[in-house]
């Protein structure tokens, strides 16, 4: 080689493959306002649908009169349950094995439930019509407090389930009971508690919140009567699942349904499930023969589609006097609202809540969850977390702090003492998960060193003394947490949705000139898939990322996949991408051997080419091999260069991290100021550090919002009180703290490129970190647990109850 030949490193850099901070491909259109979101779609003759919704949380429908609505100029049709019932479409199946009313038939079960769907030739006329649908209600007693749902005399909510004593997850023990789920060794855990030297017990509630992406849920349904085909554009995180559900519900053959998810303005779990709006738009399109658009407004979004959390976790830890944990016992009351519309893998009614042993070496544990119905909106989605993982992380991380407080130990020291050790991986937890890899102590040590943990504790002590002397009205809190996520659902042996295994897929086609199109079963909602999947392929195949198009969201062209949520894209589709690329590479190697007239085994891979071992000047680049694949393949080989991979992951991946937060609390107002937030994440192999940092910033910001103010709150008669952005806390740039990010890298041993997924870690770790910081501020005054959200009045109330305003 002469000096002009680029080195391997130089060639690798040009590819913009894995590990590089590649600028995002998507941004070119987004910064020019040329994104293509659902509501941007305009079809000839398109109609608009709008809902009439229930003002009551629980009421019997006595009468529906649509005549005035139908008289509105421009209104073409008004659908009610009576219209859907003959089609068998007044109820739809949920992903959790329950059914949900598409339009309320005899009763409404939550405020803003869908009652009628008005279809008009203009958005404004549809709204006028929706206002004029007259519904006569007879109000019924409501169940809002989950702790009263299973009282013997609690009102019966789900009359449609009368007599159904068996649910999909076993026996129902009360008319408002959904399921009971248990895991772990109860006897061993009870025994651990019986002989515990120290034990703590606390009811740790995680309030009801909502993912609230900036774009609401929406769709356009267009039924072609002549072909008998349905095209459905929508905000779908899982377009293939929507196609299958639509086919099962509508009986339209699946090949005649074309689901397209265009650009999506954020999802965070809100856009996984199927909603009444989708069904009504489809029916309306079939009825009218014209395309029908449905766009949720923000109030509808916050009050009717997909809440998250509402978990009430009575948590106990047993430990020795010197702080070694010996057992964990959690009983959870899970408020599922009016219908069980959780988007969990089928066998997991409480998601992966059994990750609740967290990052600690618990010898034994037991978890029990009761799901119940209340007069609240259905949902129970994984809002920027894997299924129920943020609930679990919040639960264990609060509980560990409570234990530390009881032991008089520093919370970081307690964690250090109990973290799973590096040599224990792969580690099987007491609740059955096999953690793939970790180096927890290194991560926590790095975090503590970077923030100067000891100095912070010293400063806090000085401040506490000053506070006691009356020299300051500020309290300083330090939150420290260590989380373990469980993402990448999931292995077919235990993960499915509607019976479909939770594999995911990638199909890669190399064009003759060496450019590429890759199609995947996932669907980006802002994660930058068009950029990062191309980086995987670039590195795997030695082709420039800029020459790789990544396409998702069209079920006609993309291979079947289960979609994007639960941080599964990188662990599952990312793996499929690498595997498909490797199939291509294997074929390319045979072509190279043929062209170079050597044996396959005499070739070695060097960034973007196969070279002859010991003779690197003899090589074929992947670009050359792409051309050759279309005209010079070895005898007997099929031409072309493409592959598809359906990847069934052998295990989940287990990203982890150590976060530290410093908060200052003004006890006179309850105002908090996040002075510092440091997040160390280990997501295994890092594909695009820029995008990872962006994901962490965003996830931390959502965690901040949840911990410090978000709440879907109902009054005692079931009115939802926080259904607009006036009252539902989305922080602006002013409230949002500055984020410091850091990392360690512990690759996943079972993932083809060692990546674990990252988008949800900051939410999972962030929420308990903020909460621990606020709790820590008051801990020295005797407070043990303060419920979220830590908004101003609640924080002030803590101070008030501690007598700090006297």
């Amino acid at each position: 080689m002469n000096d002009m030949t680029p080195t391997s490193a130089e060639r690798a850099e040009k590819l913009e493959g894995m590990g590089c901070k590649r600028k995002r491909v998507e941004d070119v259109r987004f910064v020019q306002g040329r994104g293509n979101y659902v509501d941007d779609l305009k079809l000839p003759g398109m109609l608009y649908g709008d809902f009439t919704r229930s003002p009551y949380a629980h009421a019997r429908i006595k009468r529906i009169d649509t005549s005035k609505a139908k008289a509105v100029p421009g209104v073409l049709a008004v659908l009610t349950a009576a219209d859907l019932k003959p089609l068998g479409l007044h109820y739809m199946p949920t992903l959790a094995g329950d059914v949900q009313a598409v339009l309320a038939e005899e009763k409404v079960l939550f405020q803003n439930q869908e009652v009628a769907f008005v279809v008009a030739n203009e958005r404004y006329a549809a709204a006028d019509g929706a206002e004029l649908v007259e519904v006569e209600y007879e109000s019924l007693p409501v169940v809002i407090d989950p702790f009263r749902a299973m009282a013997p005399d609690a009102p019966v909510l789900r009359e449609d389930l009368a007599g159904k004593t068996e649910g999909v997850h076993g026996a129902r023990k009360h008319h408002n009971h959904v399921f009971n789920w248990q895991i772990g060794d109860r006897a061993a855990t009870d025994a651990a508690f019986n002989k515990a030297e120290v034990a703590i017990k606390e009811l740790i509630s995680y309030q009801r919140v909502h993912p609230c992406p900036l774009e609401t849920c929406q769709c356009v349904a267009s039924f072609d009567k002549i072909k008998g085909e349905l095209t459905l554009w929508g905000t779908f995180q899982a377009p293939h699942v929507i196609r299958t559900v639509a086919s099962l519900i509508s009986k339209i053959p699946e090949h005649k349904i074309h689901v397209i998810a265009p650009d999506i303005g954020g999802g965070f779990g809100n856009k996984v499930g199927a909603y009444s709006g989708y069904i009504c738009a489809i029916v309306a399109s079939i009825v009218t023969g014209r395309p029908v658009k449905w766009v949720e407004d923000r109030i509808e979004n916050l009050s009717a589609t997909a809440f998250a959390r509402d978990y009430h976790m009575t948590t106990e830890i047993a430990a020795t006097k010197d702080g070694k944990v010996t057992g964990l016992r959690v009983y959870t009351l899970a408020d599922h609202g009016a219908f069980d519309a959780c988007a969990d893998p089928s066998k997991w009614p409480a998601g992966f809540f059994n990750i609740v042993t967290g990052s600690y070496d618990f010898p034994t544990a037991h978890v029990e969850v009761d799901g119940i119905y209340t007069n609240k909106a259905p949902g129970g989605v994984a809002y920027r977390c894997s299924f129920r993982v943020t609930e679990a992380a919040y639960c264990i991380e609060r509980a560990m702090d409570i234990l530390a407080q009881k032991l008089g130990m520093d919370p970081a020291e307690l964690r250090m003492k109990n973290l799973i050790r590096r040599e224990q991986f792969p580690y099987t937890s007491a609740l059955g998960w096999e953690y793939d890899s970790g180096d927890y102590h290194t991560a926590l040590n790095k975090a503590m060193d970077t923030v100067g943990y000891k100095a912070l504790r010293d400063e806090q002590k000085t401040k506490q003394e000053a506070f006691r002397r009356g020299e300051t009205r500020d309290l300083m809190g330090i939150g420290v947490i260590f989380f373990t996520e469980i993402v990448g659902a999931g292995p077919s042996r235990n993960c499915d949705i509607l019976g479909i295994a939770m594999f995911d897929s990638a199909e890669i086609r190399i064009h003759p000139t060496g450019s590429v199109i890759a199609r995947l079963g996932t669907k980006s909602q802002g994660q930058g898939h068009e950029t990062t999947y191309a980086q995987i392929i670039a590195t795997e195949l030695g082709l420039k990322a800029d020459n790789i198009t990544v396409e998702e969201g069209n079920t006609d062209t993309a291979p079947y996949g289960l979609g994007t949520y639960g941080s599964r894209s990188t662990p599952v589709s990312g793996a499929a991408t690498a595997m498909a690329a490797r199939k291509i590479k294997a074929k390319a190697q045979m072509i190279a051997a043929h062209l170079l007239e050597v044996h396959d085994d005499d070739l070695e891979w060097d960034v973007d080419r196969f070279t002859v071992k010991g003779n690197p000047e003899r090589f074929k680049t992947m670009t050359e091999l792409a051309w050759a694949a279309y005209h010079g393949v070895p005898p007997g080989m099929e031409p072309g260069l493409e592959a598809v991979s359906y990847y069934d992951p052998p295990n989940m991946t287990y990203p982890f991290g150590a976060y530290i937060c410093v908060v200052d609390v003004d006890v006179d107002t309850g105002m908090t100021k996040i002075r510092r937030f440091y997040a160390l994440d280990d997501c295994g192999t890092r594909i695009n550090p820029m995008i990872i940092e962006g994901q962490i910033h965003g996830g931390l910001t959502e965690a901040f919002a949840i911990a410090m103010g978000q709440e879907i709150r109902y009054d005692e008669i079931g009115n939802v009180m926080t259904a607009s952005l006036m009252d539902y806390f989305l922080p602006t740039a002013v409230e949002t703290p500055h984020w410091e990010t850091d990392w360690t890298t512990t690759p996943s041993p079972h993932h083809p490129i060692g990546a674990k997924g990252v988008g949800e870690s900051p939410n999972v770790g962030g929420v308990p970190c903020f909460a621990n910081a606020v709790n820590d501020a008051f801990g020295f005054l005797g407070s043990t647990h303060i419920a979220m959200p830590h908004d101003q009045w609640r924080t002030w109330t803590v101070a008030e109850n501690l007598g700090l305003h006297a």
């Binding site: 309850g670 103010g709 006036m726 101003q792």
Partner: protein, 287 residues
């Protein structure tokens, strides 16, 4: 969220606007910046048949000195309040308050007249106007009249404005040179109404309070003028004990609603904390 239908009118003079409102009757509403009314219309909590847009009336957009007063046209936006050197120099509490209203976009649209006239107890400027002893110039079919801000607010969204009258200008006596001021607002985030807020204007002579006026925001159905609290402070050095008494007097006149910002007791206490802070701030600025 889609508003109901209405007819749109854009008069070019106050007389024309007043005549329109008189002709159109109770189903007509005057439209200023629209950032209170339009959201209400989109929620269909307001459904006027006619909107009389005041944006075309040039005479409503001005800020001028008139003897010892400053007269601000009702259609002056919060953004224009912030941009006005005259106001910044003479009545700086207006700038301090405007900066705490809503967000940049809303401040470009929201008007001073709309903020003080619609009777929303969450609005910030009314308490400041009570504090400053402002007067509102209003014009109706029967002519012009002047209403003291302190007599204007009668209940939530209920004011001394008669049907068909529009508020055309706000007249404020320029506070004494060297006065101290402060508007302290507790809110959950940018864009929020106050959990509680307090406006203070005071003058100091030789270390004691010579004059003091206090307004409170969003802790009752109307903005509050805390006259008794201010009187307690006059003649004092703003020592802790006196401030405490004044705070108690201010808290005593509050009657906030319990809402997502917190329970009533919290909001009352926050009115007190904001007042104490506004007093400290005002004192530090007085010369």
């Amino acid at each position: 969220m889609i508003p109901g239908s209405f007819a749109y009118h854009r008069p070019s003079s106050v007389q024309e606007a007043v005549a329109l409102l008189a002709d159109l009757g109770t189903e007509a509403r005057a439209l200023a910046g629209g950032h209170s009314l339009i959201p209400m219309m989109k929620l269909r909590l307001a459904a006027p048949d006619n909107l009389v847009d005041l944006a075309g009336i040039k005479e409503l957009k001005s800020i001028r000195a008139d003897g010892g007063d400053i007269v601000i046209g009702a259609m002056t936006t919060q953004h224009e309040v912030l941009a006005s050197d005259l106001l910044t120099q003479k009545i700086p509490i207006l700038r301090e308050t405007a900066l705490q209203i809503a967000d940049p976009q809303v401040r470009y649209a929201g008007t001073l007249g709309g903020n003080v006239a619609n009777g929303d107890p969450g609005n910030d400027m009314p308490a400041v106007m009570l504090c400053l002893g402002a007067a509102y110039q209003v014009t109706g079919k029967s002519g012009e009249r002047r209403i003291a801000a302190r007599e204007f607010y009668q209940g939530a969204y209920f004011t001394a404005l008669e049907p068909g009258e529009i508020l055309t200008a706000i007249r404020i006596r320029v506070p004494a040179t060297g006065h101290g001021y402060g508007y302290e607002k507790l809110k959950r985030k940018i864009g929020d109404y106050a959990t509680a807020a307090a406006a203070v204007v005071l003058t100091m002579t030789g270390g004691t309070v010579a004059s003091c006026s206090i307004g409170l925001t969003n802790v009752a159905e109307t903005p509050l003028w805390a006259e008794a609290a201010a009187n307690i402070l006059v003649g004092s050095s703003l020592n802790a004990a006196t401030v405490k008494r004044a705070v108690a007097a201010a808290e005593a006149i509050t009657a906030p609603a319990t809402d997502s910002r917190g329970p009533a007791i919290y909001r009352t206490k926050m009115a007190g904390v904001m007042l104490a802070r506004a007093l400290a701030h005002a004192r530090s600025r007085a010369s």
